[in-house]
Chain length 108, copies 2
DNA sequence: TAACTATATTACTATATAGTTATATATGAA
DNA sequence: TTCATATATAACTATATAGTAATATAGTTA
Protein backbone atom coordinates (compact mmCIF):
# COMPACT_ATOMS: atom_id res chain seq x y z
CA UNK A 1 0.00 0.00 0.00
CA UNK A 2 1.46 3.33 -1.04
CA UNK A 3 0.13 6.75 -0.22
CA UNK A 4 -0.83 7.64 -3.76
CA UNK A 5 -3.51 4.94 -3.87
CA UNK A 6 -5.48 6.40 -0.96
CA UNK A 7 -8.71 8.27 -1.53
CA UNK A 8 -9.82 11.31 0.44
CA UNK A 9 -11.84 9.36 2.95
CA UNK A 10 -8.89 7.08 3.67
CA UNK A 11 -6.60 10.07 4.07
CA UNK A 12 -9.05 11.50 6.60
CA UNK A 13 -9.11 8.25 8.55
CA UNK A 14 -5.33 8.17 8.65
CA UNK A 15 -5.30 11.79 9.78
CA UNK A 16 -7.61 10.92 12.68
CA UNK A 17 -5.43 7.98 13.65
CA UNK A 18 -2.25 10.06 13.48
CA UNK A 19 -3.85 12.90 15.39
CA UNK A 20 -4.66 10.51 18.23
CA UNK A 21 -1.00 9.52 18.29
CA UNK A 22 0.43 13.01 17.85
CA UNK A 23 0.74 13.92 21.51
CA UNK A 24 3.63 13.07 23.84
CA UNK A 25 1.38 12.07 26.72
CA UNK A 26 -0.64 9.74 24.52
CA UNK A 27 2.52 8.22 23.05
CA UNK A 28 3.69 7.63 26.59
CA UNK A 29 0.42 5.85 27.33
CA UNK A 30 0.84 3.72 24.21
CA UNK A 31 4.36 2.93 25.33
CA UNK A 32 3.14 1.86 28.78
CA UNK A 33 0.45 -0.31 27.21
CA UNK A 34 2.85 -1.82 24.72
CA UNK A 35 3.91 -4.56 27.07
CA UNK A 36 0.92 -5.10 29.28
CA UNK A 37 -2.62 -4.25 30.13
CA UNK A 38 -2.74 -1.55 32.82
CA UNK A 39 -5.36 0.09 35.00
CA UNK A 40 -5.89 3.84 34.95
CA UNK A 41 -4.03 4.53 38.17
CA UNK A 42 -0.97 2.65 36.92
CA UNK A 43 -1.07 4.64 33.70
CA UNK A 44 -1.33 7.83 35.72
CA UNK A 45 1.78 6.81 37.67
CA UNK A 46 3.77 6.03 34.54
CA UNK A 47 2.68 9.07 32.54
CA UNK A 48 3.38 11.74 35.13
CA UNK A 49 0.28 13.90 34.80
CA UNK A 50 -3.08 14.19 36.50
CA UNK A 51 -5.77 11.52 36.61
CA UNK A 52 -8.37 13.66 34.86
CA UNK A 53 -5.94 14.44 32.09
CA UNK A 54 -5.05 10.78 31.58
CA UNK A 55 -8.72 9.90 31.54
CA UNK A 56 -9.30 12.36 28.70
CA UNK A 57 -6.31 11.05 26.75
CA UNK A 58 -7.59 7.50 27.21
CA UNK A 59 -10.92 8.55 25.73
CA UNK A 60 -9.16 10.06 22.72
CA UNK A 61 -7.15 6.88 22.12
CA UNK A 62 -10.31 4.79 22.58
CA UNK A 63 -12.30 6.87 20.11
CA UNK A 64 -9.53 6.30 17.58
CA UNK A 65 -9.83 2.55 18.24
CA UNK A 66 -6.22 2.29 19.28
CA UNK A 67 -6.97 0.96 22.77
CA UNK A 68 -9.81 -0.88 24.47
CA UNK A 69 -10.92 -1.23 28.06
CA UNK A 70 -12.57 -3.70 30.39
CA UNK A 71 -13.87 -3.16 33.88
CA UNK A 72 -13.06 -5.44 36.79
CA UNK A 73 -14.80 -4.29 39.91
CA UNK A 74 -14.03 -0.65 40.37
CA UNK A 75 -10.90 -0.88 38.28
CA UNK A 76 -10.79 -0.25 34.53
CA UNK A 77 -8.03 -1.90 32.55
CA UNK A 78 -6.82 -0.58 29.24
CA UNK A 79 -4.87 -2.41 26.57
CA UNK A 80 -3.91 -1.96 22.93
CA UNK A 81 -6.82 -2.69 20.63
CA UNK A 82 -4.93 -5.44 18.84
CA UNK A 83 -1.57 -6.59 17.61
CA UNK A 84 -2.04 -4.44 14.51
CA UNK A 85 -1.84 -1.38 16.72
CA UNK A 86 1.53 -2.57 17.98
CA UNK A 87 2.57 -3.04 14.38
CA UNK A 88 1.47 0.49 13.53
CA UNK A 89 3.55 1.86 16.41
CA UNK A 90 6.51 -0.23 15.29
CA UNK A 91 6.12 1.09 11.76
CA UNK A 92 6.09 4.66 13.01
CA UNK A 93 9.11 4.08 15.24
CA UNK A 94 10.90 2.48 12.32
CA UNK A 95 10.05 5.46 10.12
CA UNK A 96 11.30 7.82 12.79
CA UNK A 97 14.50 5.86 13.34
CA UNK A 98 15.07 5.88 9.63
CA UNK A 99 14.79 9.66 9.56
CA UNK A 100 17.14 10.12 12.50
CA UNK A 101 19.64 7.70 11.04
CA UNK A 102 19.63 9.23 7.58
CA UNK A 103 19.67 12.81 8.80
CA UNK A 104 22.30 12.61 11.46
CA UNK A 105 24.03 9.35 10.78
CA UNK A 106 23.07 8.13 14.23
CA UNK A 107 22.29 4.53 14.87
CA UNK A 108 19.72 4.10 17.53
CA UNK B 1 13.27 -0.17 17.05
CA UNK B 2 10.28 -0.66 19.30
CA UNK B 3 8.30 1.98 21.11
CA UNK B 4 9.36 0.92 24.59
CA UNK B 5 12.98 1.89 23.93
CA UNK B 6 12.15 5.54 23.21
CA UNK B 7 12.90 8.23 25.77
CA UNK B 8 10.70 11.26 26.40
CA UNK B 9 12.54 13.52 24.04
CA UNK B 10 12.20 10.98 21.23
CA UNK B 11 8.51 10.55 21.96
CA UNK B 12 8.11 14.33 21.68
CA UNK B 13 9.91 14.38 18.33
CA UNK B 14 7.67 11.62 17.02
CA UNK B 15 4.64 13.51 18.28
CA UNK B 16 5.73 16.61 16.34
CA UNK B 17 6.27 14.56 13.21
CA UNK B 18 2.89 12.83 13.54
CA UNK B 19 1.15 16.10 14.28
CA UNK B 20 2.49 17.53 11.04
CA UNK B 21 1.01 14.54 9.23
CA UNK B 22 -2.27 14.45 11.14
CA UNK B 23 -4.29 16.68 8.84
CA UNK B 24 -6.13 15.60 5.68
CA UNK B 25 -4.97 18.61 3.66
CA UNK B 26 -1.35 18.00 4.58
CA UNK B 27 -1.65 14.29 3.79
CA UNK B 28 -3.04 15.30 0.42
CA UNK B 29 -0.01 17.52 -0.12
CA UNK B 30 2.29 14.65 0.84
CA UNK B 31 0.41 12.44 -1.58
CA UNK B 32 0.84 14.97 -4.38
CA UNK B 33 4.54 15.29 -3.61
CA UNK B 34 5.02 11.55 -3.39
CA UNK B 35 5.63 11.20 -7.07
CA UNK B 36 7.12 14.49 -8.09
CA UNK B 37 8.35 17.91 -7.10
CA UNK B 38 5.58 20.48 -7.50
CA UNK B 39 5.28 24.26 -7.34
CA UNK B 40 2.84 25.89 -4.93
CA UNK B 41 0.21 26.67 -7.55
CA UNK B 42 0.16 23.04 -8.69
CA UNK B 43 -0.22 21.91 -5.09
CA UNK B 44 -3.09 24.39 -4.67
CA UNK B 45 -4.80 22.88 -7.71
CA UNK B 46 -4.41 19.33 -6.46
CA UNK B 47 -5.37 20.01 -2.85
CA UNK B 48 -8.58 21.93 -3.45
CA UNK B 49 -8.23 24.75 -0.95
CA UNK B 50 -6.97 28.34 -1.00
CA UNK B 51 -3.43 29.44 -1.74
CA UNK B 52 -2.92 31.08 1.66
CA UNK B 53 -4.04 27.93 3.39
CA UNK B 54 -1.72 25.73 1.34
CA UNK B 55 1.13 28.09 2.04
CA UNK B 56 0.56 27.71 5.77
CA UNK B 57 0.37 23.93 5.51
CA UNK B 58 3.60 23.90 3.50
CA UNK B 59 5.30 25.85 6.29
CA UNK B 60 4.08 23.32 8.86
CA UNK B 61 5.41 20.40 6.81
CA UNK B 62 8.69 22.25 6.25
CA UNK B 63 9.14 22.99 9.93
CA UNK B 64 8.71 19.28 10.62
CA UNK B 65 11.44 18.59 8.03
CA UNK B 66 9.13 16.46 5.96
CA UNK B 67 9.44 18.58 2.82
CA UNK B 68 11.97 21.01 1.39
CA UNK B 69 11.76 23.83 -1.15
CA UNK B 70 13.83 25.56 -3.78
CA UNK B 71 13.10 28.74 -5.65
CA UNK B 72 13.37 29.05 -9.41
CA UNK B 73 12.56 32.58 -10.49
CA UNK B 74 9.29 33.53 -8.93
CA UNK B 75 8.26 29.91 -8.54
CA UNK B 76 8.90 27.85 -5.43
CA UNK B 77 9.10 24.10 -5.81
CA UNK B 78 8.45 21.72 -2.96
CA UNK B 79 9.47 18.09 -2.65
CA UNK B 80 9.72 15.42 0.01
CA UNK B 81 12.73 15.96 2.25
CA UNK B 82 14.21 12.60 1.38
CA UNK B 83 13.42 9.01 0.57
CA UNK B 84 13.13 8.27 4.28
CA UNK B 85 10.04 10.48 4.34
CA UNK B 86 8.51 8.32 1.63
CA UNK B 87 9.37 5.30 3.71
CA UNK B 88 7.71 6.83 6.74
CA UNK B 89 4.55 7.45 4.73
CA UNK B 90 4.66 3.90 3.42
CA UNK B 91 5.03 2.60 6.96
CA UNK B 92 2.04 4.58 8.09
CA UNK B 93 -0.05 3.46 5.13
CA UNK B 94 0.97 -0.10 5.81
CA UNK B 95 -0.01 0.27 9.45
CA UNK B 96 -3.34 1.72 8.44
CA UNK B 97 -3.99 -1.00 5.87
CA UNK B 98 -3.16 -3.58 8.47
CA UNK B 99 -5.75 -2.11 10.82
CA UNK B 100 -8.43 -1.97 8.14
CA UNK B 101 -7.67 -5.50 7.03
CA UNK B 102 -7.71 -6.97 10.52
CA UNK B 103 -10.75 -5.03 11.65
CA UNK B 104 -13.01 -5.49 8.68
CA UNK B 105 -11.40 -8.30 6.76
CA UNK B 106 -11.05 -6.03 3.77
CA UNK B 107 -8.10 -6.31 1.46
CA UNK B 108 -7.08 -3.00 0.01
C1' DT C 1 9.22 52.83 -13.92
C1' DA C 2 4.45 50.12 -13.96
C1' DA C 3 1.91 45.99 -14.41
C1' DC C 4 1.70 41.21 -13.69
C1' DT C 5 2.50 36.59 -11.50
C1' DA C 6 3.84 33.56 -7.66
C1' DT C 7 4.14 32.96 -2.96
C1' DA C 8 4.12 34.37 1.92
C1' DT C 9 2.22 36.80 5.71
C1' DT C 10 -1.18 39.18 8.53
C1' DA C 11 -5.50 39.63 10.70
C1' DC C 12 -9.47 37.58 11.73
C1' DT C 13 -13.13 33.92 13.16
C1' DA C 14 -14.24 29.61 14.68
C1' DT C 15 -13.01 25.46 16.66
C1' DA C 16 -10.26 22.13 19.18
C1' DT C 17 -7.69 20.58 22.90
C1' DA C 18 -4.02 20.16 26.82
C1' DG C 19 -3.95 20.72 31.50
C1' DT C 20 -6.10 21.75 36.06
C1' DT C 21 -9.60 21.77 39.74
C1' DA C 22 -13.74 20.40 41.33
C1' DT C 23 -17.40 17.31 41.06
C1' DA C 24 -19.94 13.22 39.68
C1' DT C 25 -20.44 8.34 39.14
C1' DA C 26 -19.51 3.51 40.09
C1' DT C 27 -17.91 -0.06 42.92
C1' DG C 28 -16.64 -2.21 47.20
C1' DA C 29 -16.13 -2.40 52.34
C1' DA C 30 -17.71 -1.60 57.00
C1' DT D 1 -26.31 3.60 54.98
C1' DT D 2 -21.76 5.70 55.23
C1' DC D 3 -17.07 5.87 53.87
C1' DA D 4 -13.37 5.06 50.80
C1' DT D 5 -11.39 4.11 46.26
C1' DA D 6 -11.28 4.18 41.10
C1' DT D 7 -12.53 6.46 37.17
C1' DA D 8 -15.06 9.81 34.34
C1' DT D 9 -16.94 14.25 33.45
C1' DA D 10 -17.70 19.28 33.74
C1' DA D 11 -16.05 23.82 33.91
C1' DC D 12 -12.48 26.65 33.16
C1' DT D 13 -8.03 28.89 31.13
C1' DA D 14 -4.68 29.10 27.84
C1' DT D 15 -2.99 27.88 23.57
C1' DA D 16 -3.04 26.19 18.88
C1' DT D 17 -4.65 25.96 14.38
C1' DA D 18 -7.78 25.42 10.05
C1' DG D 19 -9.71 28.28 6.85
C1' DT D 20 -10.47 32.82 4.59
C1' DA D 21 -9.74 37.56 2.90
C1' DA D 22 -6.72 41.09 2.41
C1' DT D 23 -2.17 42.60 1.96
C1' DA D 24 2.82 42.24 1.42
C1' DT D 25 6.88 40.55 -0.80
C1' DA D 26 9.64 38.73 -4.53
C1' DG D 27 10.49 38.04 -9.16
C1' DT D 28 9.33 38.84 -14.26
C1' DT D 29 8.12 41.48 -18.15
C1' DA D 30 7.06 45.45 -20.76
Amino acid sequence: MTIEKLNESELSEIAIMLKALSDPTRLKIMQALHEEELCVSDIVKSAGTGQANISKHLQILSRANLIKSRREGSTVFYSLFGSFVEQLCESICKGYTNIITKKFGKIK
